[in-house]
């Protein structure tokens, strides 16, 4: 066979790979939206689910649970995550402790969600007596998301051109002043992208929350109450009730949230990259 015809065949495979990927994605999204959107309406969004065996009701308490979890997890996560990112980008020398921290971050990023769940179950739920609660879920998620935020922060800070720092230092600013007033503001869009990425993960996660949040369908009135997120709610609907229509509805809501989050992240990171190239 001539190289030309080999190339033709190869291209068919290559385009086939792309086509399959898109088909899988579109298949899943369209299937869930088509099956799910008919049961999504205002009432679905603001009524609490009946819980237990019943698939009746809407998703209000699960939405509240998700929002609580988002707020609390991010509030705890931001300082250690961004701090560690700053350290790795600005302070770390290439020595053994730094390599150990990097190795820890990389490894932690790969540890399965359910293992984080076991850890949270043993430490937060049992040993610290937070029981099955939003707090236990949030703390577990903080551990899970830390590597994501550290990596994105580090990358964002590294993307800031060296000239920025040199200018600031030349004007007599101290290292921390330079980081705080020059580097961080410049890297902020990149860091925010990372934070939104984490928000997306919070919305998606199920396994580690399944064993730390208890899954109560009631309105969570405090941090120490159990609760469920939309993803958990979808799991309970699909497995424990026969309400596949409601499960699909919840899935449709989730997919819309994820599409929005992805769009925002893309927009922000494109702008950030453009800006950094310009600077």
């Amino acid at each position: 066979m001539s190289p030309k015809s080999v190339q033709k065949i190869a291209k068919v495979f290559i385009w086939g790979g792309g086509a399959i990927t898109v088909a899988v994605l579109l298949g899943i999204i369209l299937y869930v939206l088509i099956q799910g959107l008919p049961s999504v309406n205002m009432e679905f969004l603001i009524t609490p689910p009946k819980g237990g065996l019943s698939g009746e009701g809407g998703i209000s308490t699960a939405t509240v649970g998700t929002l609580y979890l988002l707020g609390i997890t991010l509030a705890i996560l931001l300082i250690p995550g961004i701090g560690a990112g700053i350290y790795l980008a600005e302070y770390a020398r290439d020595n053994r402790p730094t390599r150990m921290v990097r190795y820890a971050v990389e490894t932690l990023a790969g540890v399965p969600s359910i293992v984080f769940g076991l850890f949270g179950f043993a430490l937060f739920v049992t040993a610290l007596h937070f029981n099955f609660s939003i707090l236990s879920g949030a703390l577990t998620l903080v551990c899970l998301l830390l590597p994501t935020l550290i990596r994105t922060t580090e990358e964002a800070i590294r993307a800031v051109p060296r000239s920025y720092r040199e200018a600031s230092l030349a004007m007599g600013a101290s290292k921390w002043q330079t980081i705080r007033h020059v580097v961080l503001p410049a890297a902020m869009p990149g860091i925010v992208t990372g934070i939104i990425l984490c928000a997306g993960r919070i919305v998606e996660e199920t396994a580690c929350l399944y064993v730390t949040m208890g899954g109560s369908a009631a309105m969570p009135t405090s941090l120490l109450k159990g609760g469920r997120t939309l993803s958990l709610h979808l799991y309970y609907l699909a497995m424990d009730t026969n309400a596949f229509d409601k499960a699909m509805g919840t899935g449709a809501v989730l997919i819309i949230i994820i599409i929005i989050i992805n769009a925002v992240t893309n927009l922000l990171s494109q702008r950030f990259q453009a800006k950094m190239r310009g600077g």
Partner: protein
């Protein structure tokens, strides 16, 4: 001491503490799961635990071999499809597609990562399980689980492979083309081999993701603690073993589930170390070049 020097030092220490947090968490996870899992390992013995083929907590039989085999099979099953599709898609994105196609395809790949695993599980339960049942068995099967996983690991393989294909120095490609190679010959004989380490890393990380997946698996695999005899037979993964039973377990049974977590942790540790080395080697190779 001027105040900004104090601030400078404090800041340095604060961020250092932040950085050590992940190290502490990693250690804590290992110690906690180990401590909870140790009683079971002592009682059952490592040999019986790892190589026992019967998982019957009620009878004090705790062999996790069926689950280990289950995890490996679904992972390999998903790789069979995901590697060729993912690699093709990565080549498309890195080399073949026009800017406009890429601008549509990339977000699509990113969106695949974002879809919650329970949504994959739900679609699997309602579409793939009944489809597999048409072939035979209950439909809840290794095959169904592999198919669901394929969609979930594709983005990992695609994005890391694409990055490493792009990282291949321009000089390599230009040299190949200048020597009269077709675009495909250049891709297949120069670019892909040069990006080999990165592609390997993507595959290994994809395997990590497959082994770690939990909720989608318990929704489609049937959760029977048996060594699967065919793609159509039910099975259970290590992750599923934990998730399905942890809520109800007590005593040695609970401890055995934590031990399952330890095994899972160690598998991931090995896979990640391999991936890290592969990536680093890939980078070094290009730096030398």
């Amino acid at each position: 001491m001027p105040s900004h020097v104090v601030v400078d030092r404090t800041a340095k220490h604060v961020v250092l503490i932040c950085a050590s947090a992940s190290f502490v968490i990693l250690g804590a996870i290992f110690i906690f799961t180990m401590r909870e899992g140790a009683p079971a390992l002592q009682e059952i013995g490592l040999y019986n635990f790892l190589l026992g083929t019967e998982w019957r907590p009620g009878q004090e039989m705790f062999g996790i071999l069926p689950m280990t085999v289950g995890s490996i099979l679904v992972t390999l099953g998903s790789m069979v499809l995901a590697i060729p599709i993912g690699l093709a898609c990565a080549i498309l994105l890195a080399e073949v597609a026009s800017f406009r196609v890429r601008r549509l395809l990339r977000p699509a790949v990113e969106l695949l990562v974002g879809i919650p695993s329970v949504v994959y599980g739900l679609v699997g339960m309602l579409l793939i399980v009944p489809a597999v049942r048409e072939i035979g068995g209950s439909g809840f099967s290794i095959l169904a689980a592999s198919l669901v996983l394929t969609a979930m690991v594709l983005p990992t393989i695609i994005s890391i492979s694409e990055d490493s294909l792009r990282a291949v120095p321009k000089g390599y490609k230009e040299a190949a083309l200048a020597m009269g190679a077709t675009q495909w010959q250049m891709i297949w004989h120069v670019q892909v081999p040069a990006a080999r380490s990165g592609i390997m890393a993507g595959i290994v990380l994809g395997m990590g993701r497959a082994i770690g997946e939990t909720m989608a698996m318990i929704m489609v695999i049937g959760n029977s603690p048996i060594i699967p005899t065919s793609p159509l037979s039910q099975g259970r993964t290590l992750t599923g073993n934990i998730a399905v039973e942890i809520m109800y377990a007590s005593g040695i049974h609970r401890s055995a589930l934590f031990s399952t977590g330890v095994i899972l942790f160690l598998i991931i540790l090995v896979l990640n170390t391999v991936a890290t080395f592969a990536l680093r080697r890939g980078l070094k190779a290009h730096h030398v070049a």
